[in-house]
Symmetry: C2
Subunit: 305 residues, 2 copies
Amino acid sequence: MNKASLPFLHTFVVAAKHLSFTKAAHELFLTQGAVSQQIRLLEQRLGFSLFVRYHRSLELTPMGARLALHLRHMFADLDGLIEELREERDSTIITLSVMPSFATRWLMPRLGRLQERHPGLQLRIQANDREVNFTRDRIDAAIVHSHLHSGSAYTVPLLVDHVFPVCSPAFAEQNTLQTPADLVHVPLINDDSEWRFFSPYAAWEAWLAKAQVKGVRPSRAMSFNRGDLAVQAALSGQGVALGRTPLVMDDIREGRLLKPFEQVYDNGHVYLFACPNEYRDREPIQQVLNWLQDECRRYMDEVAQ
Amino acid sequence: MNKASLPFLHTFVVAAKHLSFTKAAHELFLTQGAVSQQIRLLEQRLGFSLFVRYHRSLELTPMGARLALHLRHMFADLDGLIEELREERDSTIITLSVMPSFATRWLMPRLGRLQERHPGLQLRIQANDREVNFTRDRIDAAIVHSHLHSGSAYTVPLLVDHVFPVCSPAFAEQNTLQTPADLVHVPLINDDSEWRFFSPYAAWEAWLAKAQVKGVRPSRAMSFNRGDLAVQAALSGQGVALGRTPLVMDDIREGRLLKPFEQVYDNGHVYLFACPNEYRDREPIQQVLNWLQDECRRYMDEVAQ
DNA sequence: GTTTTTGGATTAGCTGAACTAATGCAAGAG
DNA sequence: CTCTTGCATTAGTTCAGCTAATCCAAAAAC
């Protein structure tokens, strides 16, 4: 169908509602003749008639009735979507997508200072491991690991991420942990959130390889599907976990966790802030980003010290 | 949203597909400037932007992407429906809705002569007891009982319908059936297709009342939910059924059924031919109607004789 | 580093699609 | 029988949306 006749379809819906061209014309601020002409042209273009004309009354043909019904829903849905999109534009709530472990162990403890700085800002944290997709999901911004698959977006690097074993002080006292080779004797705690199916123990395997430790079979480790749970297990003295800096730094500084070895490896992961290019200049987005950058700077200082 | 911008939405879908105004313009046989203007106006009217403009490339905003997806489906559905309606118009197949019992016992035996008269005519019989609704169902015409609830339609009376007991000759021999009062002693066969829930034995009750017979409890009858099954049961000697003229006349003439009593009551039912006003003049509809009227005339003669 | 190409933005001016206004017609109400 | 009502039709008008031409700036080509 010729898309030029689309407005006629709207006229048709109104005329079908009233079963009167005169009333439809009134509703649409047109003359009766205009409506009559539009319907005639529309019928011509569609190739079938929509109304049966009588003396001074109209009746829908079966085809006309079916089309009218379809169009009524179509227009309602369209109006609904547009309304929704407009509300979204006006919304002051920023939805930030974050990995769950990063959310609980790094973001949460720091959120207080964001509220202090911008009391009016409404931030909604959406913690999940799904691939970020700004088109599909109603997300305004995200913190992601390393790369973003979804099209082009505005990204800002926030942190780099180091990996090393951690355990509780109590656990360290009860077990000999002088060199990485001692890991043979102790329970390992694994986080398989990243390579769950392909190679669940990849994290430990990579670290042990870099530390040139042989003979440790990480597959005997207990395994969690979220990084924060693995840290939690280490905190409660269950064994040795592989910690990522941002997830364990606070606990190390407070003495609840310790690093038994010196070996620390950069695993190439970067935490990025990301948002659709278009949202880049929205004020609340800027506020969140600036705050995140300040927190990262503060955090880097703490790590360095 | 202003319905005047509807054609712009189509332009938008094409532009979103190509992520290029120039290519969209080419597809739509417009100039690049026209597309650019349409999108600008559309964004203005919607109140949010659809594309992020770069150097010489475009990107959809999250809102634009969602709108484009919705519109793509919307247009596809609309085109689909219109195509379907066009095919319907071109169709030479006439779908006739009939009550199942009338279809099997009256219409079927006579259809042969319709094919003889109009070998090219394609008739599809839709036998069901649903209320006829030309708008909702893909029906071109119908044979209905007495009245039509669905809006205005073109109707032509075909037959009137009389009601009286019938049984097989064998059954009549084995049972005394001189007056209606003798019905006390024999199995009754009931057809509850019309008043199933409210009053399943209404047909017998009404007939017995008109015949002024007392003391017969029709509720002991065996009951069928279709009129033709009740007749079938009578044919095979199961008992006495209440026959409607068009359903049993052929069998009576052939001697397979007989009327034990003289009492015949008009129950006010009329069989109507009905079709949407608009279809009234379509040639195949006319052919079917004319044939039906001829058959009815022939049938009336047979009944009278 | 300069030139060319490419693709979107913008503008003035044109044009025809769709509107109005006026009239005709025929059915049904009064 | 007359009046009212509501759709059809037509001639004439108007403005929404088009073209065409120009501008601009990034990126590709040289």
